[in-house]
């Protein structure tokens, strides 16, 4: 080949090789670009999920923080309030008997016809004599009569007076005014009658019904009969008690075992076993901890059902591995020079750990605590198995009382039949839960930066 015009053949070969390399390079660079694009697409997808999730929760939940509220002069009609004066302590009466009598009186007060008082007051406000009592009542929340009752029980002198009060509109009226329900649906599919809808619209236009901030979401307990006034107070306290239990138990135990495993444990079968154990526990599904709680705490130790103390114990066991692992990595990050310096100056091992190593890891331990508490705060499944999904309409006074928890309340609300209303209410509860978690993390970041600066 080389005999015939070697130069041109060589050139041709070079040309061919070059073009082969060029086309190969182009192909390879194309692949490179596509690969990078896939990466960007993946990141884009992940970020898009975050955005979609949050915008969905916010757009659904924020409207629920304002609720249709009717400002109305309520006439406490003395004729309708036909009841004896409130009992007082008689001579020779035991406190328990007085309490029983008082409870009887309060029950009688509850049985008074509050519905017609509300009905009369609304009728007076509208000046409409034709509209049916049921329609009048249907735009006011069912639980608002208890507001009247409470006002009366607190001050029986109200009988015969007229007082301006703020009453929550019913969930159906709220749905109607907010447009959560399709306004074009035929009567048969509407929750409110045509008259009640017209009434609600008129009151809204006249400004007697306003969209007011729904404070009761934070102050009321859950309610089934009066969905509009259902709130998170009970669930919030329940969650708070559980957090307390977790902080009191999981943090000291977790930090102590992390210190032992990282600083003292001799290398032997036992510590190996503990180590494998902790790593496995960290990956055990949370629901299995619920089964443990149901079998051991509830069925064996007979601790009360639905109590935050049991929930707290279960969550403690569940978060322990998280706290241990995070604390250990914080301990491991302490430079060996610090330990050597302490030991070299004659400190014992315990002194070295508690006087020198541990103070340096406070920010790390704090982070571990927050991670653990946040995990416990959002956990639902194990709580369902120890009866915390029971309907509890009271704020727990102690960790031994029946209670709900924030994530469980979300679970209960999403299952409510009044979907139109409770979809927004559930999202609002989710916003509260997420806000709580975000503020926990923010506090952690703040404290961390302060602690780190002090060193």
């Amino acid at each position: 080949m080389a005999n015939q015009s070697p130069v041109s053949t060589e050139q041709a070969e070079n040309q061919a090789r070059l073009s082969r390399i060029r086309s190969g390079l182009a192909r390879r660079h194309g692949r490179e670009r596509r690969f990078r694009l896939y990466g960007l697409l993946a990141i884009g997808a992940a970020l898009a999920f975050v955005v979609i999730l949050f915008s969905m929760i916010l757009s659904k939940g924020l409207p629920a923080f304002t609720q249709a509220t009717l400002t109305i002069p309520i006439t406490f009609d003395a004729e309708l309030l036909d009841i004896d004066p409130r009992p007082t302590l008689q001579d020779g009466q035991s406190p328990a008997d007085l309490r029983a009598a008082d409870l009887r009186w309060q029950r009688d007060a509850t049985m008074l016809n509050w519905n017609s008082i509300i009905e009369q007051s609304v009728r007076e406000l509208t000046g409409d004599t034709q509209i049916a009592p049921r329609d009048l009542q249907s735009i006011i929340d069912n639980g608002e009569r208890f507001k009247l009752r409470d006002a009366f029980v607190a001050n029986p002198a109200l009988a015969g007076q007229t007082v301006e009060m703020q009453l929550l509109a019913s969930a159906n009226a709220d749905n109607w005014l907010k447009g959560n329900i399709n306004r074009d649906l035929p009567d048969a599919q509407q929750q409110l009658s045509a008259d009640a809808r017209a009434l609600a619209d008129r009151l809204y236009e006249d400004g007697q019904i306003r969209m007011a901030f729904a404070w009761h979401i934070f102050t009321n307990v859950d309610s089934r009969s009066a969905p509009a006034s259902a709130g998170l107070a009970g669930a919030f306290m329940g969650s708070l008690y559980m957090m307390l239990v977790v902080i009191v138990l999981a943090v000291p135990i977790g930090v102590a075992s992390a210190i032992y495993l990282e600083e003292f444990a001799p290398k032997n079968r036992l510590t190996d076993l503990i180590e494998v154990n902790i790593n496995n526990l960290a990956a055990v599904p949370s629901i299995v901890f619920g089964l443990l709680g149901a079998a051991v705490f509830i069925n064996y130790f007979r601790l009360p059902l639905s109590a935050p103390i049991v929930g707290g114990l279960v969550l403690t066991l569940m978060t322990l591995p998280t706290i241990i692992i995070a604390t250990r990595s914080a301990l491991r990050a302490v430079p060996p020079s610090l330990r050597q310096a302490a030991l070299g100056l004659g400190a014992s091992r315990t002194q070295m750990v508690f006087h020198h190593v541990l103070p340096v890891t406070y920010p790390g331990i704090l982070t571990a605590t927050i991670i653990g508490v946040a995990q416990a705060l959002g956990e639902t499944a194990p709580l369902l198995l120890i009866g915390m999904n029971a309907f509890v309409a009271a704020v727990p006074g102690s960790p031994f009382d029946q209670s709900s928890a924030l994530p469980v309340q979300i679970y209960l609300w999403q299952g409510n039949e009044n979907r139109n209303f409770f979809e927004a209410r559930t999202s609002a509860a989710i916003i509260v839960l997420l806000a709580l978690m975000i503020s926990l993390n923010a506090v952690a970041i703040f404290l961390r930066s302060r602690l780190e600066r002090r060193r």
Binding site: G39, I43, A45, K60, L291, L320, R349, G378
Partner: protein
């Protein structure tokens, strides 16, 4: 009142003991030449520990057995006919006696025997709390004196205190073992009770899940695990199908391509997904993803139900993305720099380096991360409870509702079932299955990841 008094007593004891130990040892140390083996605070702590320990033991014993003892005492003082009736009658009688003794009184007429029992119980209570507190204080005092006598120049108080501290730390780390033991024992025992109703073969190989909700009669209904297991596997597979590509590509991009600035921006945002409670994902699936998929299926002519394996799987996949991406990111960054530089130096493009050098080197770690993610998907509960439709049948179509092991555990234990019925106990057999499956996956994953670390360390 009682507990406040106890706490005050304990605190007083602690401070007295500490002060005593400190002062006595301090006096021993003379300026002339005598040097204590341990410094006074250690002597103080040692005396305090000696003092408080017996008191704590006595109080713990009372906390454990006190309730039983006082109940037995009340029963002893009640007339025989009430005790014989047992049940609610006895329970309410005991409560009335307690109320009378506490001074709150009870509503209604008070029987003379109740009055007498109440008075006796009040005495018993006073006596018992006096005895408990008194003996705790007495033991504490004796042991305080003893510990005080032990104080000497040569006493190795520091070493003793440190040894006690070390045992306390060991005790704390034993809690993890106790937890595992508790899980295994409770699952195994309750599952064994279940298997006394239903044969294990019917359970593990049965293809029909239909536990009838009748509380009486043994083995009513059919308890076949396979439909539930199938649902679990299907949802987990869909979840991995969503999360593995997205998570892995995210990790590759952030670890290999992204500028530090972009990395520090993207990583935390993606990890936000990991911090969101699963119930929120469940709600998201139910309200947004489900209806969207159903509408999407309609436009392309496929029947997809709003609550289906697909809905639950996709949302679970989204939840797992940060799990895979952060684990893989760690692993990808552990691949030695020299290998990457070598490949680039030979003229490979970045993507070729990633595909031919980094990924094969990191493969064991990524497999480990994958297994951990699968174990998480299998154990995930709330998303499937809300979005999978709870329909325990063997179906191959992911657009149909299914049920999983975790959902069934929740369903079986949240009803009004008697705890001892097979309908409730089956939850523990399911839990045991779940536990063994995840344990196996975790062990495999941890083993693989550890091997991978050792390879490059």
């Amino acid at each position: 009142m009682y507990s406040l008094l106890t706490i005050a007593l304990l605190l007083a004891l602690l401070s007295i003991a500490y002060q005593q130990g400190w002062a006595v040892s301090r006096k021993l140390a003379t300026p002339e030449a005598t040097r204590l083996h341990s410094r006074p605070p250690y002597h103080g702590s040692l005396v305090a520990i000696w003092t408080i320990a017996p008191a704590l033991v006595i109080l713990a014993l009372w906390a454990l057995f006190g309730a039983t003892a006082s109940r037995a005492y009340i029963v002893m003082n009640l007339p025989a006919e009430i005790v014989d009736q047992g049940g609610n009658v006895l329970q309410s009688a005991i409560q009335r006696v307690r109320a009378i003794a506490s001074g709150a009184g009870v509503a209604g007429e008070v029987q003379p025997y109740e009055m007498a029992a109440g008075a006796a119980f009040r005495q018993f209570q006073n006596l018992a709390s006096a005895t408990v507190l008194g003996s705790a204080a007495a033991f504490a005092a004796v042991s305080l004196l003893f510990a005080r006598k032990r104080i000497a120049v040569r006493l190795q108080a520091r070493n003793e205190v440190e040894r006690i501290v070390r045992y306390l730390l060991l005790g704390c780390s034993a809690v993890a073992i106790l937890t595992t033991l508790g899980i295994v024992l409770s699952l195994v025992f309750e599952a064994a009770r279940f298997f006394s109703f239903v044969s294990p073969i019917d359970f593990f190989f049965g293809t029909v899940w239909n536990p009838r909700f009748s509380t009486t009669g043994a083995g009513s209904g059919e308890y076949g695990l396979l439909p539930l297991l199938w649902g679990t596997v299907m949802v987990a597979a869909i979840a991995m199908f969503v999360s593995l590509p997205i998570g892995l590509m995210t990790a590759i991009y952030t670890s290999q391509y992204a500028s530090p600035r972009m990395r520090s921006l993207v990583k935390p945002v993606v990890e936000v997904l990991a911090g969101i409670p699963t119930i929120v994902y469940g709600f998201f699936a139910l309200v947004t993803v489900g209806p969207f998929l159903a509408a999407f299926g309609q436009t392309i002519g496929v029947n997809i139900r709003a609550t289906s394996a697909l809905t639950a799987g996709i949302v679970m996949g989204i939840m797992i993305i940060p799990f895979i991406s952060s684990l893989s990111d760690d692993i990808l960054r552990q691949v030695p720099r020299a290998m990457i530089d070598g490949s680039i130096g030979l003229g490979a493009t970045r993507s070729e380096t990633i595909k031919r050098v980094i990924l094969p080197a990191a493969l064991p770690g990524i497999v480990g991360a994958f297994l951990l993610a699968v174990s998480r998907a299998i154990g995930e509960t709330m998303i499937v409870v809300l979005a999978a439709g709870n329909s325990p049948f063997l179906r191959a179509n992911p657009g149909e509702p299914i049920s999983t092991v975790t959902v069934t555990i929740v369903n079986q234990l949240t009803g009004d079932q008697d705890f001892a019925s097979p309908q409730s106990l089956v939850a523990f057999a399911l839990g045991l299955t779940l536990f063994v499956m995840t344990l196996f996956l975790n062990m495999a994953a941890l083993y693989i990841v550890r091997r991978f670390r050792e390879q490059y360390e």
